[in-house]
């Protein structure tokens, strides 16, 4: 193969390589007829205030990642490693995002990651959870430590009934 043919082949090959990711920010979609997508939140949308408490939020949000499987599965006692293992389970994202287990991700990648975690607890006695309202907090902190080894800011907390028990939810952001 001559040099010029080789150059031509390389040029053609290069032209078939994927280009830069197509920017799909709000301002790009504002000039299109894709209204369904335009009104959806993007991963880098700049919210004027935080959804949960109405406070001003600085900078871009990372998407919220659910660090648990949906459904009313019974809780298992948290062990020293269960929090990290929980993060490694297939987390579900509220907005498209990639959730890496804390152990596998560099600290700078974890900064700003937002998670929703939960644990089941009971106010009485339950076959589905070993946690009381007091002890479930310890289990939640073990999960948070696994997800955010460099620390975290917890900015929302709620409880929702499940059968005779409750799920305790925390929303947190890694520092």
């Amino acid at each position: 193969m001559t040099r010029s043919r080789l150059q031509l082949s390389l040029l053609l090959l290069a032209s078939l390589l994927p280009g830069p990711a197509m920017a799909e920010s709000d301002v790009d979609q504002a000039d299109s007829l894709r209204f369904q997508q335009f009104f959806e939140d993007k991963s880098d949308s700049i919210k004027v205030w935080r959804e949960t408490d109405g406070k001003i939020e600085s900078g871009r949000r990372k998407p919220m990642v659910k660090a648990y499987e949906d459904g009313g599965a019974a809780a298992k006692p948290a062990t020293a490693n269960s929090a990290t293992a929980g993060a490694a389970n297939t987390p579900r994202t509220i907005a498209p995002a990639t959730a890496k287990p804390a152990a596998a991700a560099a600290p700078e990648e974890l900064r700003g990651m937002r998670y929703e975690i939960r644990e089941r607890y009971t106010l009485d006695r339950s076959d589905d959870t070993p946690y009381s309202a007091l002890h479930v907090v310890t289990a939640m902190h073990k999960q948070m430590a696994g997800l955010c080894p460099k620390g975290w800011r917890k900015y929302a907390e709620r409880s929702e009934p499940v059968g005779k028990d409750f799920f305790l939810y925390y929303e947190l952001e890694c520092l």
């Binding site: 032209s15 078939l16 994927p18 299109s32 007829l33 369904q36 949308s45 004027v48």
Partner: protein, 362 residues
């Protein structure tokens, strides 16, 4: 009421307030796009050059700030809004001396059945171009420098269907609100102006779109143009190739097509029809560098009998250097040449610019 009961009452009111108020706050978006331009332009009238421009300028290129948002009315219906304003980052005010100029400002409803919007908005025909105009918003590079149809219309009522296997249908209309047309009659019907678009594959590697609008013009002017536009773009790896064809006609025999670029306008002043096409392409040479080029042509027939068409040709080439997903440096060269009936001018005006700029999207 006892004072002690007041906190309880306030707490009760707070709890009973619709949760949706905070459930989805507004989102801010926009762009800052400014460039340094070297211009070489001239305008003629009566066969004479009446103005020339040969200087450097800083320009704001459709910089804007917008607020959008939505909230759930119920499980199947949400309210949506978009309020977008142009800002001039070069001087702070636009040609009307205002800091903000309304672009697309709409409210509406959205559900699984589609999106309904009302307000001031670009027409569906204008929006089907997506990014086929590679030099959109740039001085002399924007395709509005050689073709018509880039209308933003007041009083629009618009519906866009949900996605049907890649297809989307948009229909819009606006009442004329008694605007007086060239025939001296008022546009006083519910749907004096209308625009329809059918798109396929928006945002994918193969995009096709067809649009037609009837009795259309900018803002709240009396309608005057019937336009049909066809757009296509294909993406093959790092290469994108796009094309646009359109034909514009006067709506009535008394009308002249609206929005004719000034470069063409000097060869007749008013026109009964225009045919135009555009070819464009870009190549992402690396993850950061995009090379792009565009060629466009239009021929416009003057209303005056026995006058030959005004022909406009646009050539533009440019390079983008992406700093990240949301910001880039760019440089480009654009030129629009026009020639028309010698009764208007024997000269062939050629407008040129070379520019370097910076764009931040947020």
């Amino acid at each position: 009421m006892k004072l002690k009961a007041l906190p309880l009452l306030l707490a009760g009111l707070a709890l009973s307030a619709p949760a949706t108020v905070l459930a989805a706050g507004p989102t801010v978006y926009g762009k800052v796009n400014a460039s340094l331009q070297k211009f070489d332009m001239e305008q003629i009238s009566g066969g004479q050059v009446v103005s020339e421009r040969d200087d450097w300028q800083m320009r704001s290129n459709a910089s804007r700030i917008g607020v959008k948002g939505d909230y759930d009315i119920n499980e199947s219906l949400k309210a949506v809004y978009k309020l977008e304003y142009e800002i001039s980052v070069d001087t702070g005010t636009n040609s009307n001396g205002r800091e903000f100029a309304a672009r697309n400002i709409v409210g509406g409803l959205q559900g699984s059945w589609g999106t309904f919007l009302f307000g001031r908005h670009d027409t569906p025909l204008k929006l089907i171009q997506e990014k086929v105009d590679r030099f959109n918003d740039l001085q002399i590079g924007d395709m509005s420098n050689f073709l018509v149809g880039e209308f933003r219309r007041d009083n629009m009522i618009m519906y866009t269907s949900p996605d049907f296997s890649g297809f989307n249908l948009t229909a819009a209309f606006s009442p004329g609100e008694s605007a007086i047309g060239a025939d001296g009659k008022e546009d006083d019907s519910l749907a004096d102006s209308a625009s329809f678009a059918l798109t396929y594959g928006a945002g994918t590697d193969l995009y096709l779109a067809l649009a037609h609008e009837q009795n259309m013009a900018s803002n709240s002017s009396a309608g005057s143009s019937d336009i049909t536009r066809l757009v296509g773009e294909v993406k093959l790896g790092a290469v994108k190739v796009g094309a646009l064809y359109q034909t514009a006609r006067q709506h009535k025999s008394e009308d002249a097509i609206a929005g004719v670029p000034s470069g063409i306008n000097q060869f007749g002043g008013s026109f009964e029809k225009q045919d135009a096409w555009l070819l464009s392409g870009e190549w992402a040479a690396t993850k950061a560098i995009v090379l792009k080029a565009q060629y466009g042509y239009s021929e416009s027939k003057p209303l005056t009998a026995n006058r030959s068409d005004a022909e406009a040709t646009q050539i533009a080439v440019g390079i983008d250097y992406k700093l990240d997903k949301n910001s880039k440096f760019y440089g480009y060269y654009a030129q629009v040449d026009v020639e028309g009936d010698s009764a208007y001018s024997t000269g062939k005006p050629s407008d040129k610019t070379i520019g370097v700029g910076y764009e931040i999207n947020f």
